[in-house]
């Protein structure tokens, strides 16, 4: 039975949606959960609904790091912030995984402060799912992109490690047995992109177990050629936010339909199921969750806007990652890379 510690205080709709998610998961799974935050408030919220008390415990802590606080300063100043207490509990073996919808930087820094990187891992990476077209039958509707901002620039071996970690995580969350891993580059040929990318390509090509398909270009991100896209943080961050921006523009075009001609309004009404799907895609980050990979423990960062359904999903994914042994799997493949 995996034990998951949940930061009850982080996120735009905390603690209400966090508690609701934990209550719901307690009724439909055997996952042990600890809610970290203001104990009295949490208990009142629990008691307002239905839950399985055998699977839920509460750990009180005195403070919380706000969504717009400077992460570095806040982690230093607030020793008893919910995210720090959660990370410490995992470090002490009181839980196996951590889920938070709070301040992303604080989440990464709390893990970095209290957890060890896996042996051989040079840098942790923040991964995110993203919507794209699918290329083959049964392919997941969401791809995985890493790093999206835990790093800025990377060395070749760091990128290769991202490929290993992304491959292991994608195998865990998607139905695809062998996710395709691609290295984001400015050309498909192995000799493109400068020394670092050429060397990263060579290292990844030497690991047959991870399903490396070579370099992928910008358009391949949209068409779904790779299931896992590897990039240094600066590049991955820009790509992820560009996809968010495009989805938001498309969604706002759909919303503005009411102000257009009757012809446009009528057409949009006809297309409403498709439009609805587009709106859902525009909100893709709220239901995917973003794992922080490279540490000895599992951490899923849910989007700040997440509602209880998305939080519940993140809790189940973190438990599955523990059950599937994603950490030892990554550790073993990293050892092969060295």
């Amino acid at each position: 039975m995996p034990r998951v510690v949940v930061d009850a205080m982080g996120g735009d709709f905390a603690p209400e949606e966090m508690v609701r998610a934990v209550s719901q998961v307690s009724l439909e799974s055997d996952i042990q959960m600890v809610l970290v935050g203001h104990a009295e408030q949490i208990q009142a919220l629990l008691d307002a609904g239905e839950y399985n008390p055998e699977l839920i415990s509460v750990r009180h802590c005195g403070s919380v790091i706000g969504m717009s606080e400077d992460p570095r300063e806040a982690i230093r100043a607030k020793k008893d912030a919910s995210i720090s207490v959660a990370a410490r509990m995992v470090a002490l073996g009181e839980a196996d995984a951590m889920v938070s919808a709070g301040n992303t930087g604080a989440c990464v820094l709390a893990a970095a402060k209290h957890w060890k990187l896996l042996a051989g891992i040079r840098k942790a990476a923040l991964a995110s799912v993203f919507p794209r077209q699918t290329e083959y039958e049964g392919q997941d509707q969401l791809g995985l992109l890493l790093d999206v901002g835990a790093t800025i620039r990377c060395e070749a071996v760091e990128l290769a490690q991202f490929g290993v970690m992304g491959s292991a995580y994608a195998r865990c969350i998607s139905k695809v047995a062998s996710p395709r891993v691609g290295l984001l580059n400015m050309g498909a040929e192995a000799n493109k992109g400068g020394d670092v990318l050429v060397e990263a390509n060579r290292l990844l090509a030497g690991l047959p177990a991870i399903g490396f398909i070579g370099n992928v270009e910008g358009h391949d991100v949209a068409t779904g050629h790779a299931d896992v896209v590897v990039a240094e943080g600066l590049l991955g961050n820009v790509v992820l936010k560009l996809l968010e921006g495009v989805a938001e523009v498309a969604s706002s075009l759909a919303n503005n339909a009411a102000h257009e001609s009757w012809r446009w309004r009528f057409g949009m009404a006809m297309l409403s199921p498709g439009i609805e799907r587009m709106r859902t895609l525009a909100d893709f980050q709220t239901y995917g969750g973003a794992p922080i990979l490279g540490f000895e423990h599992v951490c899923i960062k849910a989007h700040g806007r997440s509602r209880s359904g998305a939080i519940g999903n993140a809790i189940k994914v973190s438990a599955k990652a523990v059950r599937d042994g994603i950490i030892p799997d990554i550790a073993q493949k990293i050892a092969e890379l060295r």
Copy 2:
């Protein structure tokens, strides 16, 4: 009267569409044009239509570099390729600007071989227009992104120079008097993105004349926050190709409507004017053209798929760039940067 040399043999529809474009422009402007390529073939195509012989001359050359040839090898081997002859003519003062729809790499290398970089310029950049939402009244429907692949990694001063060049070109092609220049980064704050981007931000902020608005993030590319987006080649190339990929996916969804339910087909028919606009956007590169900036002369690289309308547009833009004195303008601002 600006004199523009046109590579008649480069592009998917060369020489037919190149000759058609030149003929058309000769009837509606005072631009002097030289068609470089197979003289007999060009003359036959000219004579098949209407044109103003006072504005058009033909320069014969013996070979052409194919769209999929290795640019470096081809430029070395084919001394009399149309693109090389065109670049030499500009270098010798026989023309003021060059337009080609051929092999992009060959175009950049021909300019690099026969032209000098402007005093102080460290690296040439390839710029491209891209479609985005507009944020303010009168803003251009297309933004400008550079570099999109002439470089891989860049130093801070090189990025700042891209900002200067992009600003000058955007003022020339768009109706906006003061285009907004943004530095593509993983955070809006000036201290984000590592040493190179922090220093590039500082350099650009020191040039009030170019309209620098600070760092922009991935989503700002889609929403139109900046008119000129500055990035090193690897990042710019991935962003441009991602936008192409998204536009292609959207366009293919529209094309596949015939296979969907009656409801979907009917809705799509109602939306057909909007869909058509989306298809046009998916083809944005064919009507925008991509300037190669940083040399002592003007070069516009039209997309390989360009038809005569897009080529004609590129010819007019190159002539306007010469008339507006874009080269001396860039030279002066670069001097201020040093």
